[in-house]
């Protein structure tokens, strides 16, 4: 890969306060060209700040040299939100990884954006609390990334997504000012800038401190594994559990192919001959959990369940979850590349859309694997492929588009938790009118009129009046 020679003046200015934490080595830049998605960009300089002041100085320097910038957490995003396009300076927040304060009386922890999601919950655990959003990547994804993407996870079915668990955010705005959005009170005055910032994928500034809400650990947790000989029964059981007035802490589904792949990695005793399994978790006070288990059993029996396995202890529970949470990476066991979608459909349409996903994959000669948050209808169809195969990328993209179309036709949305990023921005028009998107752009503009923060993300080219840093996803962005 040949890089443009970095703007030496900007680099030396960044080095004046960052020292060797401002980088432009060819090998090093290559490492920040990608996130967890299939897209690849081209960073100009990589900065690794350790404080709000440094982030502010970086942004001010970028402004002086007319350079866009982009924040990056752990780089596990799946929609290309952290893929640098438009030759930006990458601000990697990984070194800002301190838990600053745990305030049990307020049920709040102040953390830096680079703190890893699971590290935070592990730190809180002896105190009897955790941070509720738990994306599958929770062992490595950062709180800053969770804020940028309004991340979910299996347990957000009962507990809600990141927005419900963040009270306040310190942000360096695209013009270099520092703002505190939200506060620790229940009704912070003025408009909800905090709520607007969460999920804005770094296009409204860079989060430098986050006040997260602490959720008490449930006194009782029960995890059940149900297997079904027909995926349709499994999906029907999902709707039925919810319709019975039960909101499990998590309600996850895996199809036959996913079960096989996952079992090869974890050896948790997943039934590889089943057509589908449901992983159901119930938590809370003992009576409610017991009642929930009864409801799930009764519903499962009505839907021809094969067997109901209740995890005997924490170790078994952890093993079952390890399988679920590593499913995406494990897909590489069948093909070296995968393309993952993240649409949400009404629960009642799960079977219909799943069947379409299989048909689409067949039509494009691809392998589809399904592991998903069934409880909230959040599908994660994975198309596994080998990028070395000739013409496969076109097929994968066409199939992806067909899946998104099918989901939206079923009354769904583009993304449940991964975000729009670079990957799905050109699909936004399938869900929103031109006027809807223009309104969204007005809102973004209030924070960043010149489009310096994470250019070319979220909204399609054309709907942003300030796309000064290039118009289209560059050719060859797919890897």
């Amino acid at each position: 890969m040949v890089h443009k020679s970095a703007d030496k003046k900007l680099l030396s200015e960044l080095r004046s306060f960052l020292g060797d934490r401002a980088r432009d080595g060819d090998f090093e830049l290559g490492l920040y060209a990608k996130d967890g998605s299939v897209l690849k960009g081209d960073p100009m300089i990589v900065c690794l700040p350790t404080s709000t002041e440094e982030v502010q100085q970086i942004i001010l320097a970028c402004r002086r040299y007319d350079r866009p910038f982009l924040a990056r957490g752990s780089g596990t995003g799946l929609a290309g939100g952290a893929v640098p396009v438009g030759d930006p300076v990458v601000i990697a927040t990984a070194k800002m990884n301190k838990i600053l304060d745990i305030d049990i009386d307020n049920r709040i922890a102040w953390v830096e954006p680079g703190v890893l999601n699971l590290d935070l919950s592990r730190e809180l655990s002896p105190l009897g609390f955790h941070f509720a959003p738990d994306p599958s990547s929770q062992q490595v994804c950062s709180i800053g990334g969770n804020v940028a993407n309004n991340s979910g996870g299996p347990h957000c079915l009962a507990y809600g997504v990141t927005s419900a668990h963040v009270a306040a955010i310190e942000v360096v705005l695209p013009d270099g000012r520092v703002a505190l959005l939200g506060d620790l009170t229940a009704e912070s005055p003025g408009y909800d800038l905090r709520g607007l910032f969460i999920g804005s994928e770094g296009t409204m500034g860079v989060a430098t401190k986050v006040a997260v809400r602490l959720t008490p650990n449930p006194p009782e947790v029960r995890t059940l594994l149900l297997d079904f000989a027909d995926v349709r029964d499994g999906a029907a059981a999902v709707s039925s559990i919810i319709a019975n007035g039960l909101i499990p802490a998590a309600l996850e589904m895996m199809d036959q192919r996913a079960i096989e792949i996952v079992e090869a990695f974890v050896n948790a005793g997943y039934p590889t001959e089943a057509d589908a399994v449901l992983l159901v978790e119930l938590d809370g006070l003992p009576g409610g959990v017991e009642h929930g288990v009864e409801v799930v059993r009764a519903v499962a029996n009505r839907h021809q369940v094969g067997s109901v396995r209740v995890a005997a202890d924490d170790a078994e529970r952890a093993l079952l979850w390890k399988g679920r949470k590593n499913a995406f990476g494990a897909v590489a066991r069948i093909k070296p590349d995968y393309y993952l979608h993240d649409t949400v459909v009404p629960r009642g349409k799960l079977v219909e859309v799943l069947e379409k996903v299989y048909q689409i994959a067949d039509a494009y000669d691809l392998i589809a694997v399904n592991v998903f948050h069934a409880g909230d209808g959040n599908l994660h169809p994975i198309l596994a492929y080998d990028s070395e195969e000739k013409g496969v990328l076109e097929r994968v993209q066409a199939a992806g588009r067909a899946i998104v179309t099918a989901s939206i036709e079923a009354g769904g949305v583009l993304s449940g938790e991964h975000g729009i990023g670079l990957e799905k921005r050109d699909y936004m028009g399938m869900l929103f009118s031109a006027h809807d998107m223009a309104t969204q752009d007005l809102v973004r503009e209030a924070f960043d009129p010149d489009g310096f923060a994470n250019p070319l993300k979220v909204l399609p080219s054309g709907s942003r009046c300030s796309d000064s840093f290039g118009q289209h996803v560059p050719d060859g962005a797919w890897v």
Binding site: Y32, L48, L116, V140, G329, A332, Y338, S387
Partner: protein, 386 residues
Amino acid sequence: MKNVPIDLPIPTEDLVSCVSCGLCLPHCPTYRVTQEESASPRGRIALMKQAHHDGVVDDEFVEFMDTCIQCRGCETACPAGVQFGSMMETTREALATQTRYQPWWARLGYRTLGWQKALRAGSALIALLQRFRLVPQKLGLPSIPIIQRPLVSSGNDVWLFTGCIMDAWMRDTHRAVQRVLESTGAGIAFPDKRANCCGALHVHAGLAPEARRLALRTMQAFPGDAPILVDSAGCGAQLKDYGHLLDSDAAREFSERVLDVHEWLAQRLDDLPEKTGLSPRIVVQDPCHLRHVQRAHESVYQVLGRYVEAVSLDDDGLCCGAGGAYSTFHPQIASDVRDRKIRAIEEIQAEEVASANPGCLLHLRSGGLEVRHPLEIVDGLIKKDE
């Protein structure tokens, strides 16, 4: 060095097996202490891809490869089953054979390990200096005897591998292991001096040809088909890998005979003497080469658990930073990684630490902890019972 041409012979299918999901990052000790993408398995694989594609490397690349401890914790964490260890070994071998990676003095140092006379002379010198208190205590070296009493075989049921540094510096550990093995009724055979270096450190350093030479020599020291037991996790992992390193049937047969000493004992728990008295609380450090490479760490708990209250660490088996010769060449990172481990150990109130690998044991001791080999602890408890 800048733009040095290189041919990185890693199969393409291995390189593309990484989908860069990042799940390895928190399980990588060097990423944990640096938060640098370049010090992570995902980053290092991306760099290998780049070097593989471009055919050139520079000092930056070498540095990123050289800071890997090769603990292989990433392999346990990787859902896709990426073979990081072998990719790193291939990369280092290519660097060592095609560039100026590993200068003459480092090569000489590694050479000494398999050269018994030189190692003995050097060790005797250290022993002498220790008597005059000229060796700083913080190095954590064991007290080395000036004159070594030989190890005496007691039968032919199993071999006990002796190795290089461990035999020169910690022969008493071998004696303790021998006593524990004998307590099950087994007779122990010791190999001759051809088994005085397994070549693990050479593979880590990219000096594979030297490692292959040592492997062939080591295999000759173990005639017959008795199990070959190893009380050093690093050596055991290497001996188990001879089949892959030499790619011969003889080597594969040899590797199949190799067991960590705890693995062998765990199958004979009933033959071990009964426990009496109190169980001390011991925190167990899982050596990476036992947990992530041999995947046999559970056997330590099974054996130790008969005599003590064995407590595991809640850190997913993150490396302690020893990494064979790593702590010598990268003292800062090694010490940062160790600090993390020590914090995890200190959070657990325990009387002592058990480590089944001499490298980890010495590294943790130099961090100020009381550490012994698990079977030395067992040996002490058996003796008291008699």
